[in-house]
Amino acid sequence: MTNLTDLTVAEIRDGFRAGDFTAREVAEGFNANVAAAKALNAFIVKTPEHALAAADAADAARTSGDLKPLSGVPIGMKDLFCTNGVQTTAASHILEGFVPTYESTVSGKLWDAGAGMLGKLNLDQFAMGSSNETSYFGNVISPWKRNDGGNAALAPGGSSGGSASAISARLCPAATGTDTGGSIRQPAAFVGISGIKPTYGRCSRWGVVAFASSLDQAGPMARTVRDNAIMLEAMAGFDPKDSTSLDLPVPAWEQSLSSDLKGKRIGIPKEYRVDSMPAEIDALWEKGIAFLNDAGAEIVEVSLPHTRYALPAYYIIAPAEASSNLARYDGVRFGQRELPDGAGLQDMYAATRAAGFGPEVKRRVMIGTYVLSAGYYDAYYTQAQKVRTLISRDFDRAWESCDLLLAPTAPSAAFALGEKQADPLAMYLNDVFTVPASLAGLPAMSVPGGLDAQGLPLGLQIIGKALDEQGVLNAALAIEERAGFTARPEKWW
């Protein structure tokens, strides 16, 4: 019998339905893998009992013929989603010990679809980071190693690095992620899995600890495009509790999957060929072009002239919103409180926030506070919003000559932990290819395209028009089929 933890979501779902194995066997298998993978530090909280309970319910439902779309499938939950009765920290000290009395809409939908929870996955603190080195609960380690004989611990990407690492290491078949500037796509690329950030508004933000409200969007991460389609169908949908949620039906993405791209035009944004891009990334991109061409698509060059302003605009808008969103962590109602002797209210705020937030969060709160402050608002925030509009217009113009865009996901393969930590700007550059789609609220997906010379995964990114998740998934599927990416990390943990 195959190892159950090597199966994809679709395979677990179908095999379980067919009676090849029980849901409990699946849950036990993954629970065991989770327990054995401490070295990866992918989980902040493990919830084996939740996975088992859901599995038992699924097994019972199979007997009664009452199966749901994700019955029998255990998943990982990024610890940015509030989970009723289970500690939710956003990987921060300030929320350590916080146990919500409510369930985020997205996680609730997944449980309603029959999924079970293996645990809460580690992430960059408050989802701020591109390497998973900002978690209060320690770095997540990528299961991948370079083939250069060195033994450097690699970054799984961020912020959904716990999700990425866990899926890649077979600790779960799928997980939730959130993407604000690339936090699903870049970690997916770093560990050789797929992940899609849907159109802004497809998935409810209710119950998701906010980073930057106008950008945050939940999405799935899994090893295959099909699994992403299955997961996204369960996660998406209108939520009256989120006024930015889109009041639209959820398409049957899995059912409509097709890698036949005849009649599709794929745009290659010339401005994404940034200076100092490694030749390997360029080569990967060429390979992607060939794949899509082979799938029947026509390749056209397009221009997104304001691309170079996207990153600076993002690193103004996101911290601005974050500085405000994180103001509620003040030590008054929940989480940590620091109350030095003789402290007044302002002292309590300062001490609580100083002790409760990590350096990267503080950096962004400071940046955000600065760019919103009197005298600088117009120079920074207003200007960044204008850039955001121009970037959206760039995409609108591009859609006049193409249906989808192809670009690399990140400018490099995974780097070693600690390598970029001293240089925040170099770290921010990781998001250079993912941020524009975030600013425009467009669906975008990373799918593995191949390995670099050191044997590390590289991701290709498909960006689509608003609401065209299907087009994005289909193009990603075409790449997946042609790339034949089967590499997996060797088990060392």
Partner: protein
């Protein structure tokens, strides 16, 4: 009639006062601005707090359509520009009663733009001068919670019941020049809000409160530096703040000082304002558009519905009372000042017209007079208001109809009304049971008149000698002899004849 110009007489001459008001009016709605939590006044602390109001992680605001509707209707009631596009902004600051760390408000694009309110400066005299006070804007925002410092020796508690309650901030232009104008403005504004039903105007419960901006200048000069006195919660206090603050500023300026732009607090016990904080340590609120909320875009159907749901407003009503019902300007003004009075009056008139089978214009004057003198007098005595009046409009109408058809004289009507107040009985029943019917029996009246004349021969002589004022004496005595039940008109006729004989 012209109003005397309000001036402060300082040592260096006369000073003019410039006043602008920011009135915070709690929107009448069952739920908060962005959550479904209740807004009932006086509930136990922290019993009306949703996860959103407590700003728990991941919670998001969803606008309450009813609050938006009420703000739009209020804007329409003051002929203001209604902005089809408006947006919510975050006003960021830290305080323990502000769970989110920001207040959701509207700075850049308020829902209502410029409008105006016409006030009568001397409300006792409807013919006195009127003044138009400009409204700068109305925006919608959340209220904060409340800190309670007196519950524990070393701790402060937070009550979040008010956190997230919807407020309209109604910002006037600096158009007012005297405490009287400001008082009239607040009263008129409150009257309009109550008519519209968008705020109950209850200043004691805090559902309406004003921030008072005051500056002084030599007449004709540029605006001076202003101070803002926060959370003033009665019309009387608003006027007191202006008077006090204007005099204080004149004193400061005349003794060579400078006015600091600052926030002040009013202490009604000592009738003084005190500095709360100066602008130097004022907050930088770092306003920016709330990314959790889409801009509000109002469509025609919504605006049409808002407009159609507006009641007749006080000014229009007052004009109609004068022109259609033939009421005096004063009576029309008093009857329309409060929505509740007008509602009561209209019920009384329509019922009167129905049972007397007359037009409303034929019964309105008597109804107005009775309501304003008899009923209001009685309610005043009893310490009650129209809401809790022991006599209903229908009962009042019955009483008035008995006067109109001659069954009751004015004196008898007063007696019957007193009994109604006590017993709650219908006027007709009281008349029947107590035999209080007016009589026009000429025989009995002639007999009584003759008796009075006979008993007062001296006065008859004086009357006949030209002292005509004595006529009232004879009528009064006859009425008294008849036990108040005689029809005064008949008594008049008979007495006139008898005295001429």
């Amino acid at each position: 009639m012209t109003e005397a110009t309000y001036r402060i007489h300082g040592a260096t001459g006369e000073w003019e006062v410039v006043i602008g008001l920011e009135v915070h009016a709690q929107i009448t709605s069952n739920a908060k601005l962005f959550s479904g939590a209740s807004t009932t006044f006086g509930a136990e602390p922290n019993t009306q707090v949703s996860l959103v109001d407590a700003a728990m992680p991941g919670m998001l605001p969803v606008p309450n359509r009813e609050c938006i509707r009420q703000a739009v209707r209020t804007g329409m009631a003051i002929d203001a520009q209604i902005n089809r596009y408006s947006r919510f902004d975050r006003k960021n600051y830290f305080y323990a009663d502000l769970p989110q760390g920001y207040q959701i408000s509207q700075l850049y694009h308020p829902i209502v733009g410029e409008g105006e309110i016409v006030v009568t400066l001397d409300e006792k005299n409807p013919d006195s001068a009127t003044k138009t006070i400009g409204i700068e804007r109305i925006h919608v925002e959340q209220d904060a919670g409340k800190l309670m410092h007196d519950q524990h020796p070393t701790r402060s508690y937070v009550d979040l019941n008010r956190s997230g309650v919807a407020l309209m901030e109604i910002v006037s232009k600096p158009d007012m020049r005297s405490p009287v104008e400001a008082g009239a403005y607040v009263r008129k504004l409150r009257s309009i809000l109550r008519y519209v039903g968008s705020c109950d105007g209850n200043m004691e419960e805090g559902s309406m409160r004003a921030d008072v901006n005051v500056s002084v200048r030599k007449p004709g000069d540029e605006f001076g530096t202003r101070t803002e006195t926060k959370n003033v919660n009665s019309v009387r206090f608003v006027m007191a703040v202006i008077e006090h603050e204007a005099n204080r500023q004149v004193d400061v300026l005349e003794s060579g000082g400078k006015i600091v732009q600052e926030t002040r607090l009013y202490d009604p016990d000592r009738n003084e304002t005190r500095s709360m904080r100066s602008k130097e340590d004022a907050h930088d609120y770092r306003y920016f558009p709330d990314p959790d909320l889409l801009p509000l875009e109002l469509d025609d159907a919504f605006l049409d519905e808002c407009r159609a749901s507006l009641p007749e407003l006080p000014d229009a009503k007052r004009k109609r009372y004068e022109s259609e019902l033939g009421l005096s300007a004063y009576n029309a003004a008093v009857l329309t000042a409060e929505a509740e009075t007008a509602r009561w009056f209209e019920a009384l008139v329509s019922e009167s017209a129905r049972i007397q089978n007359k037009g409303e214009g034929d019964v309105a004057k008597a109804a107005a007079n009775w309501l304003l003198s008899e009923l209001f007098g009685a309610l005043n005595r009893l310490g009650r208001d129209l809401d809790t009046s022991p006599v209903s409009p229908a009962q009042g109408a019955e009483l008035l109809s008995l006067v109109a058809d001659g069954t009751l004289s004015g004196t008898l009507a007063k007696q019957v009304f007193e009994i109604m107040l006590e017993t709650g009985d219908e006027a007709g029943k009281i008349v029947e049971e107590k035999g209080l019917k007016q009589t026009s029996d000429t025989g009995a009246i002639e007999e009584a008149a003759a008796k009075i004349i006979a008993e007062n021969a001296d006065k008859v002589e004086q009357y006949r000698g030209g002292k005509e004022a004595l006529f009232g004496f004879f009528v009064g005595q006859t009425m008294k002899a008849m036990g108040g039940k005689a029809n005064p008109k008949v008594v008049n006729e008979i007495m006139k004849k008898a005295l001429q004989a």
